[in-house]
């Protein structure tokens, strides 16, 4: 591709500021297909063993962000311990369905991939740092313990994950649908839930009179 023009010509932009001919116009970029380089940040102490651990669970780094991979059994305890260590806020919780993913996930060697994942973001407000927790949840038994007793703010995000993915949160005080109607069938954000041409379900509208 020979289009190395860097001007900002835009057909609708008549009154744009008079543009000086870009000096870099003539510089033909040879490296068009440059490999995007990952912005790497210094990882805290890259340990030599194959399965690196942080807070007692396997850890990986994704685009400079720290990701913990506890098992379902370790998960709630880990969130509790981390809260005592300064990760006061559960900033985000969502589900992911990896049913149709093309690429293999990069997980630590000891973590075996499952269909669902629950992804939790934790925020340390004194150190201003973040941690992400990814819990593998098998399709046969999509259940994880709730963390809404530790972080009440996770209550609605957990309901959302239940509503849209069908992941059940054990011990949740009010595990009902939150975005979809109560009587909706299926979990829309699952990858095997088809898009379009589905019968529209509405609640049976009760007559007033």
């Amino acid at each position: 591709m020979a289009d190395d023009e860097v001007t900002t010509a835009d057909e609708s932009d008549d009154e744009a500021a008079p543009e000086e001919a870009s000096p870099e116009e003539a510089a033909p970029e040879a490296a068009v297909a440059e490999e995007p380089e990952v912005a790497e940040e210094p990882e805290p102490a890259p340990a030599p063993p194959e399965v690196e651990k942080l807070h007692g669970v396997p850890v990986s780094y994704s685009r400079g962000q720290t990701v913990l991979h506890p098992s379902r059994e370790e998960y709630a305890d880990l969130v509790g311990t981390l809260r005592d260590q300064g990760y006061w806020m559960c900033i985000d919780l969502c589900g992911v369905d990896y049913l149709t993913a093309n690429a293999q996930r990069t997980l630590p060697a000891t973590v075996s991939p499952e269909r669902f994942e629950v992804v939790v973001g934790l925020l340390n407000m004194t150190e201003r740092s973040r941690l992400r927790i990814r819990v593998q949840v098998p399709a046969a038994d999509p259940t994880v313990p709730t963390i809404s007793k530790i972080h009440p703010g996770a209550e609605n995000p957990e309901r959302e994950a239940y509503d849209l993915f069908g992941i059940r949160f054990d011990g949740h005080p009010d595990l009902t649908r939150i975005l979809m109607p109560d009587d909706w069938e299926g979990h829309p954000l699952r990858k095997d839930y088809s898009v379009g041409s589905i019968p529209v379900q509405f609640k049976e509208a009760p007559t007033v009179r």
Binding site: E5, D13, E29, R83, H151, L179
Partner: protein, 431 residues
């Protein structure tokens, strides 16, 4: 800033878990049980379940509240949401990264540029591209203007909800002036689709400085009028002070961010704490309150408009020349003029707009400070041209969880003040 320690946080958590301010009723149960609840004996006062909304002028769209009342006092409550749910996260999985901002901009329609920004920054983090300096400064400028328009809308609706109906007209007028600038730059008043992965859609138009200067010169004077109209007024203070109180520890436990958290005295603003774009070079104050009540939340938002104007002035001084979008040909389509001359450019343009570009596999979470708090985007790519999973952490959605706690044991008349001070945008809540 209060030094929160873990013991205080734990006692707040115990309080939240014990005080039963959330009404655990499903939608259908609430419908079935609405009306008076006869008690078995007369020892306890009668309680009534009442539905407020979704069609109610003061619920900011389609928020429905199920309230358990004892006389005129709210004992327990529950926000019921989903009336505006259109499955935008699912839609996002079927759109290319270039089309993505068109989708996410419709989530929080009052501050659309922030959602676009979070989406674009997440995509860029996955791609590993760096946006040119001017592009970043334009993003900062535009989001600050958007913050002003969002807070002006809050002032308008907050006034309207509390009976200061004149304020609705004034807030709307100022907001419209702000939107006029956004329209001049992006072409649309709302749903801009302006911030895109790789930069912004178009350069700032000629004469933008004059237009923006005229805007930010006029707004401070108007803010003083608002001060006269509301801030010092005894009725206004009486309606808001001491209403809907929350502590910093409760707010943290509930995952609350933005003006609600700052109203408790906890200075947490991502622009300061985890700076993105060039906020680390900006000189501005993080506005905090003291009492965590509706009045503090009102005053914080009013004051934040002034801080945004301060930031805008600094940006205008320092706006650099250069590219406004990345010149990586994998991401950026060729300029329109090239298409008439070069067939390769035409093919390139066609491919980018139909197939999109492939994004390396991985997952990333990026957060920005929207007018309502932390707005995050969790994006998973499996190496294809569309996001495998695109989750937006909407501050409105999370902040709504504070409502039952803010409203517990307050009067029914205060619900409107409290909903308004949380400033939920239902498009963002329901997505």
């Amino acid at each position: 800033m209060t030094a929160t320690d873990i013991s205080v946080l734990n006692s707040a958590l115990e309080r939240l878990n014990a005080d039963e301010s959330v009404l655990r009723l499903s939608e259908t149960e609430a419908e079935a049980r609405s009306g008076y609840q006869p008690t078995a004996d007369d020892s306890e006062p009668e309680r009534m379940i009442m539905n407020m909304g979704p069609q109610h002028p003061s619920t900011h769209g389609v928020l429905r509240l199920v309230l358990e009342l004892e006389g005129e006092t709210i004992r327990r409550s529950k926000p019921v949401i989903g009336y505006l749910h259109t499955g935008m996260e699912k839609t996002g999985e079927n759109l290319t990264y270039l089309q993505g901002p068109t989708n996410v901009t419709r989530m929080d329609y009052v501050s659309p540029l922030f959602t676009e920004l979070a989406f674009s920054m997440a995509t860029e983090a996955l791609l590993g591209i760096e946006v040119p300096e001017r592009g970043q400064w334009i993003r900062m400028l535009m989001t600050e203007v958007n913050r002003i328009s969002s807070h002006l809308l809050f002032l308008a609706t907050n006034g309207m909800d509390l009976g200061a109906v004149g304020m609705m007209i004034y807030g709307w007028r100022e907001r419209e002036e702000t939107l006029r600038f956004l329209e001049a730059v992006t072409g649309l008043r709302m749903n801009h689709n302006y911030i895109r992965p790789g930069g912004v859609a178009a350069d700032l138009p000629g004469g933008w400085e004059d237009e923006l200067t005229a805007l930010i010169d006029v707004i401070p004077g108007r803010l003083e009028e608002f001060d006269l109209l509301m801030t010092g007024q005894p009725i206004w203070r009486g309606r808001l002070q001491g209403v809907g109180v929350i502590t910093a520890e409760e707010a943290i436990s509930l995952g609350t961010t933005g003006p609600i958290l700052r109203s408790t005295g906890f200075a947490w603003d991502l622009r300061r704490e985890q700076p993105y774009l060039y906020y680390d070079q900006m000189d501005f104050d993080v506005i905090v309150g003291t009492f965590g009540d509706c009045y503090d939340r009102y005053a914080i938002r009013l004051q934040e408009i002034r801080e945004s104007i301060r930031i805008i002035r600094q940006i205008m001084e320092r706006m650099p020349e250069g590219d406004y979008k990345v010149q990586d040909k994998k991401v950026t389509p060729p300029p329109r003029a090239r298409i008439d001359e070069s067939m390769e450019a035409l093919i390139h343009h066609f491919k980018i707009y139909t197939e999109g570009y492939k994004v390396p596999e991985g997952e990333v979470y990026v957060a920005v400070e929207s007018p309502r708090g932390e707005l995050g985007c969790y994006m998973v790519s499996d190496g294809e041209g569309k996001p495998y999973r695109m989750h937006i952490r909407e501050p409105s959605f999370v902040n709504l969880q504070t409502l039952p706690h803010l409203m517990k044991d307050s009067f029914l008349a205060d619900t409107v003040a409290i909903i308004s001070s949380v400033d939920p945008i239902m498009g963002g809540v329901d997505r």
